[in-house]
Symmetry: C2
Subunit: 106 residues, 2 copies
Amino acid sequence: MADDVFKALADPTRRRILDELTDRTGQTLFEICGRLVTKHGLGLSRQAVSQHLAVLEAAGLVSTRREGRYKFHDLNTAPLEHIVTRWLGPKTPQTPQTPQTPESTP
Amino acid sequence: MADDVFKALADPTRRRILDELTDRTGQTLFEICGRLVTKHGLGLSRQAVSQHLAVLEAAGLVSTRREGRYKFHDLNTAPLEHIVTRWLGPKTPQTPQTPQTPESTP
DNA sequence: TTGATAGGCAAGTCATTGCTTGCCTATTGT
DNA sequence: ACAATAGGCAAGCAATGACTTGCCTATCAA
């Protein structure tokens, strides 16, 4: 579940793709390829980007819709919302580092 | 920078370790090992956990302090705060999926 | 109908990574 | 002093992952 989201976010190229979809949602595979090449210096094959998009879609971060021969990719930020709150305390933003002793000191 | 944070969060065992440090900060290596074995069924060697802690420390998610022969591990949630906001719009939590046409249609 | 465009599938390569094993150092208790 | 405890270092292994190459299908324009 959230496992796929973390794995999807692990790769820097996939994060770039999310950046591009944040800038402009509903892009096709070739558009994303072009942007990764021109805006960032990434030299990637089309299949590489396609596989990255598959990972992002499996994580629920990208949803796709087909129209004719085009396949548009839309960003879905929903899986990102409650991921990190797992470790951020509900009220305490900074745990004040209370020094503690080991659990069992035999 | 944030690159290391995402890579650190990619592994499920490392996320378990963060869970354990959230439950009780300032644990030693052996304590974390014990908890991973008993609470979750993970059969891990001491070195495996040690290497995971090294990755977490390199990402800034865990800070360590030495006292005698003990080394205490403290959770640091600071790097987690501004990571995901990169894709979450500043005001719009849900982008309403406006359908768009390809950039260049020759 | 033919060719160009947009995309998919599958096998293969190469680097990374998670984990183990073995040995070594430092601190503490008796 | 000696043994037990807490941890570190480094080489090795097996599995995953990112990327490429090659070929194949579907849609649209001429």
